[in-house]
Symmetry: C2
Subunit: 549 residues, 2 copies
């Protein structure tokens, strides 16, 4: 076995899909530094060369040409230090899908080795089989006398991690006696992911008795948030290197240090609520920076949901860049106004009041002849919500800022929201947080000082769309509702299990499940939701719009 | 070779996903008739037992239990006549995806044979690899002395049809000397599909020198429209039996008749425009009937798009069930009102006028203090569009009818539409028709009498959101625009090819491509679009929301 050292640089950088100039520049900068520091090889994440996930851009020849051009330029950077980078690679066999999801090992201006992904995820938010042919050939790469098992994301997993896979790339690679493992990944964040990801890596290092270098994607691409957190793990299964979460980072490791279990770290995991907070801030910030916008607008109702979004947006974009608007009717209470205004003051956020009462009355007047003799119902409530959406979109159009949606997951699930009203917005910031989680996050924000006025957290939630209205008039208590929703959506519990939950029973279970099933049509037109849970609304959950429930 | 005859009944029926009582009833009714007529085997389409496509319902245990229960009941129907039906089947191997996409051959109360799909489509609108393990075992089934090659949809295809497939189920089956082929399918309609589908079937019959029985799914499931058109094809490659398009149908064929090329039919293909018309009518009708709604509402602007949607809706639902509303401002012309009113008269459709002028002025007044000193711009145009959307949604809420969206594909592509305004609606009826195709369809509708007032078809298109506005102020001429869009979206031509199209050039090509790419965020929140082309917006086209273009 080779005992000379190898210096391996892991690089997690935040790039935009298809932004090839920046992608090249980022790699080039890191290569320069790494070469200066005597690093042998720099490792970037899965599909870093295109950005992840490129989706149907992969079917566009012009996109693939740009990938090829960028790759040619990257080769020139590898005269001394080598480069491992994820990229879509054309499948020239004429059989199977058009591309491979590959890790390219570049050195001395050439491709020294290509590792192709064998386990192609096609579940939840992943659609990789739409584009990528699974490989069934797995070979270690020899570099400076070392044999490296270079793998891509799920190829490192084994039977116990994903029952469904039929092949086991690591078993094939182990027969070739590698002396270390490098894995490049694009593993999206959810609040449970870090532990499961780390457990997989640790078990694999222990099983193989090899040092393991893992580099993960970092940055948000609309719905998907990548948390970075790249790691180096010793053959004893201890984490000896842990890179930053939700931030760019670059670290050079000595193979021998990791092999000898140098400086193992204590478990550095942080509470879920803190991770979610950081993820959402990154999600907002990247959506804006990657679409070229700086400023946001949102409706501040005095309620807890918009309060939380305001705090997150202020952190992500700067308070000056977030315009808060309070849009009252006669049904709005002074309490709401005071709470909203106080929050804006705490955040030093521009605050406007735009009453929709006059427009509301005007619209009702216009509709009076056609609605003559009919009772008031949900129609009039929705008109208020839609007028608010319209006013907020007018701000968005006039000042060129982006409207942030403030719906939570409990509302999205049950359809307790108005299409084209409070469901407006380019980005749903907290659409993957149940109402109870919204409160948790607010409590976390207020842990040291009262940023969100305490009254917002203690009063009963209301939409204020008619006199004396409370959420609890239409919805079960949130603690109960959220428990049922969590079981139905996240765990996928059977109906019988849900009925058996404390205080639930058949009637309530049926009511809630039906609300979820019947509101698929609303969610179809909802904004993209920042995903922080293992099962978010959006691309990871696909139900028929039309069907017998 | 067996020369005794076999009577094969092909059954294409329109069911709702998960509507197990109706699914059972439909099969039961057909089995009763078929048994009376001495049919040997009845054949239903791919996944008929669940409805197609069931999507993530396939991940719900309760859904799969209902499939199993329904299957047990179906077995009891097969004492005499056999039944072939598509169904999701649990993969009990413990390896690979949880399900197979199977054709179950039921006879004498038992499962005589199970054929499992080997070629699992995962492109365009298909996500089957999300759920289904590909099979690599293909065996003919023996029934009454006949050897039947029972296959599911793409398993019948071969290399020349789909370069990408690595296995060829029909080659395996041919080694077992079948004497006929039965293929069950769920092949969604597009205006080019029938010819390509028929060509594949004909070539396969010719190659194998076998009679081929093909049964296709029928009915619309939100975006996807299945056109039926099941066929029996002789070993000479001639269509000897052709079942109805866009309608339920059931026909019994004699194996020997088809084998001997009895009564070959002339090519019965109809013009694309006629197919599209029928597809859209079915798409509307099924969306309503399967969601339990009867009545529609739509905004009639006096323009060609809403005129076409009104005609289609009237045909699908009955004129009485479609409420047309004209929503003028001061910018609306008498010409528009007259055109809209005349169309409603022609269609005998309820017609209301609801002016948004007063509400528009009121909203502008409300916003005046915050917009003080700023020029009028797109903001004020969007407010009109959103007020219209709000009024239409108020009708929808108050009267419990569904708002039909009237955007066309040229608008959807270029972002020439207002989110939460004219992009409102539960169903986009013509969102897969370019503006030029909208005119074509209108001309087809008017082929015998003037249903759509001629003036609607000859005047210049305008959104009437400011004085003297014409579409051509903001967009290239539609004939040119649509050509470019067709090349970019449908053909997937390279940018260079698009620049080289007559009268296009680099500047215009870049402008149009950029409009398409930049408006992904609007389409993300668009209603589901009835798909009639090979590349529609929606589930079949997935682009990053955030990316460098």
């Amino acid at each position: 076995m080779n005992t000379t050292d190898l210096k391996i640089t892991l690089a997690q950088y935040n790039v935009t899909i298809g932004d090839f100039d920046i992608i090249f520049q980022r790699v080039s900068d890191v290569m320069t530094l790494a070469e200066r520091d005597g690093s042998d090889v720099v490792v970037f994440p899965e599909l870093f060369l295109s950005g992840y996930p490129p989706l149907d851009r992969l079917e566009q020849e012009s996109f693939l040409s740009k990938v090829a051009l960028c790759l040619d330029k990257l080769k020139t950077l590898t005269e001394k230090t080598a480069l491992i980078i994820g990229a879509p690679e054309k499948n020239k066999s004429g059989k199977g899908k058009a591309l491979y999801n590959s890790a390219l090992f570049l050195h001395e201006g050439k491709i020294l080795h290509t590792a192709r992904k064998g386990l192609i995820p096609n579940y939840d938010v992943f659609d990789e089989y739409r584009y990528f042919e699974p490989s069934d050939e797995f070979k270690v790469v020899e570099f400076k006398g070392h044999k490296i098992a270079l793998t891509i994301c799920e190829d490192l997993w084994d039977k116990s991690d994903a029952l469904e896979y039929k092949i086991h790339p690591m078993e094939v690679l182990m027969q070739q006696n590698p002396d270390c493992i490098i894995n490049i990944a694009a593993s999206p964040f959810d609040y449970l992911k870090y532990q499961s990801r780390k457990n997989i890596l640790i078990r694999k290092a222990e099983q193989t008795k090899l040092p393991l270098f893992y580099v993960n994607n970092m940055g948000a691409q609309a719905e998907l948030i990548f948390d970075g957190g790249s790691m180096a793990i010793s053959p004893k299964g201890e984490v000896c290197g842990q890179m930053r979460f939700f931030e760019e980072d670059c670290r050079t490791f000595s193979l021998n240090d990791i092999k000898s279990n140098m400086n193992p770290l204590k478990d550095i995991d942080i509470p879920a609520v803190e991770k979610i907070y950081q993820a959402l801030v990154l999600g907002i910030r990247d959506y804006f920076s990657k679409t070229g916008f700086k400023k946001a607008v949102l409706g501040l109702s005095g309620g807890v949901d918009s309060a939380l979004v305001a705090v997150l947006a202020a952190h992500a974009l700067g308070s000056d860049n977030v315009q808060a608007i309070f849009l009252p009717t006669a049904y709005s209470s002074d309490e709401s106004l005071n709470d909203a205004r106080l929050l804006a003051e705490h955040l030093k956020m521009p605050f406007e009041i735009v009453s929709i009462e006059s427009s509301f009355r005007n619209v009702l007047g216009t509709l009076q002849p056609v609605f003559k003799g009919m009772e008031e119902d949900i129609t009039e409530e929705n008109i208020q919500s839609r007028l608010r959406g319209m006013m907020l979109m007018a701000f968005s159009n006039k000042f060129g800022n982006i409207l942030l949606n403030t719906s939570n997951k409990s509302e999205m699930a049950t359809g307790y929201g108005t299409l084209y009203g409070d469901m407006c917005g380019s980005l749903s910031v907290i659409g993957d947080l149940y109402k109870t989680q919204v409160y948790e996050l607010c409590r976390y924000i207020n842990r040291e000082e009262e940023i969100i006025p305490e009254n917002i957290l203690t009063k009963a939630p209301t939409a204020e769309l008619k006199p004396g209205q409370k959420d609890s008039d239409s919805l079960p208590e949130y603690s109960l509702l959220d428990t049922v929703l969590f079981h139905y959506l996240e765990i996928g519990s059977t109906f019988e299990t849900i009925c058996g939950l404390p205080d639930v029973g058949q009637e309530l279970a049926a009511k809630i499940v039906q609300m979820v099933d019947r509101n698929e049509f609303k969610r179809f037109q909802a904004p993209p939701v920042l995903r922080v849970s293992p099962k978010a609304f959006g691309m990871g959950r696909r139900f028929p719009l039309v069907g017998k429930m």
